[in-house]
């Protein structure tokens, strides 16, 4: 009875954790997509601005540069996230099976999750880094856009309103860029600890196997 309760609790915990992780991964893919879209939009807008105005050349060129960096990072980010999503989804789709097999199925899921984390650890660390860099890029872009807007403050409402909109989008994206790595880091810390504990478990298993 107590064992059943323990299994059910662990099962609920794993399911909840997997759901949250999946939500984070989906958010990351969306973030990557939006980041890429905005970066391409920023490159296009700034490149067009270069052909029409000369006064903002020192702001447009860095913006184009940042746009290219963000677009490249976004592509890398989307690819890595989709790979993790695919492997994770495969584990999530596994059925838990009959009640008498629940303990076995749950252990199988844990083994798969641990193996996945062992495999994807460098990728997850890279995702954390890329997301942070993208966050910094968006923040920088927001600052550059603010300075540009201040230069053109007398240009009229038609110019200022889209400019403010662009700044707000960049700020929101930057906030998401900082939120995602902090959430992934929480998982990462927890899973690193589990990996350490799994090494201790391995030692116990090894000594059990050596027993006559």
């Amino acid at each position: 009875m107590e064992l059943d309760m323990e299994i059910t609790n662990t099962e609920i915990k794993i399911k909840k954790e997997m759901r949250h992780f999946m939500a984070l991964v989906v958010m990351s893919i969306a973030f990557g997509g939006i980041a890429m879209g905005l970066a391409i939009a920023s490159i296009t807008t700034n490149a067009l601005a270069l052909t029409t105005t000369i006064s903002n050349i020192f702001l447009n060129i860095p913006s184009i540069g940042i746009g290219f960096i963000v677009a490249y990072l976004a592509i890398r980010y989307i690819i890595s996230t989709v790979e993790i999503f695919d492997k994770f989804d495969e584990i999530q789709e596994d059925e838990m099976g009959e009640k008498n097999q629940a303990r076995e199925k749950l252990t199988e899921r844990i083994v798969k999750l641990i193996a996945l984390y062992r495999d994807e650890k460098p990728q997850i660390k890279r995702m954390i880094l890329v997301s942070k860099i993208a966050g910094v890029c968006f923040l920088t872009n927001a600052l550059i856009a603010t300075v540009t807007l201040l230069f053109n403050i007398n240009a009229g409402t038609a110019e200022v309103i889209p400019g403010v909109g662009g700044i707000l989008v960049s700020i929101v994206m930057s906030a998401v860029g900082f939120f995602l790595p902090s959430s992934f880091r929480k998982y990462s810390v927890c899973w690193d600890e589990r990996l350490v504990r799994s090494l201790e478990a391995e030692k116990k298993i090894a000594s059990f196997m050596e027993e006559p």
Binding site: L24, T107, A115, R194
Partner: protein
């Protein structure tokens, strides 16, 4: 499952899978091993008395023995414990 697994995790997978008699090909396919490594694992488990050959329809299949119950149980207990006291995640 292509991911990096430890030898103990692979032993556990083989032993759980062989609760019903299985051929070496089935074990290798299910546990995603290459034939050389798969053979090594099976031989090791046989030497420990955890796996035994059993004839089924003129074929020699592998089945998990009662000696392996201790290994399977301790493995499951220790792995389920990894999720004890872990934090709740919220978005």
């Amino acid at each position: 499952m292509n991911n990096r697994r430890t030898q103990y995790e692979i032993y556990w997978e083989i032993l759980t899978f062989c609760k019903t008699p299985r051929s070496i090909t089935q074990i290798i396919q299910r546990c995603n091993l290459n034939s050389k490594i798969g053979q090594d694992y099976i031989e090791f488990l046989e030497s420990k008395g955890y796996l035994a050959k059993t004839p089924v329809d003129n074929k020699s299949l592998y089945i998990t023995t009662s000696t392996a119950t201790g290994y399977i149980d301790i493995f499951m207990k220790l792995y389920l414990e990894l999720f004890k006291n872990s934090p709740e995640f919220r978005l």
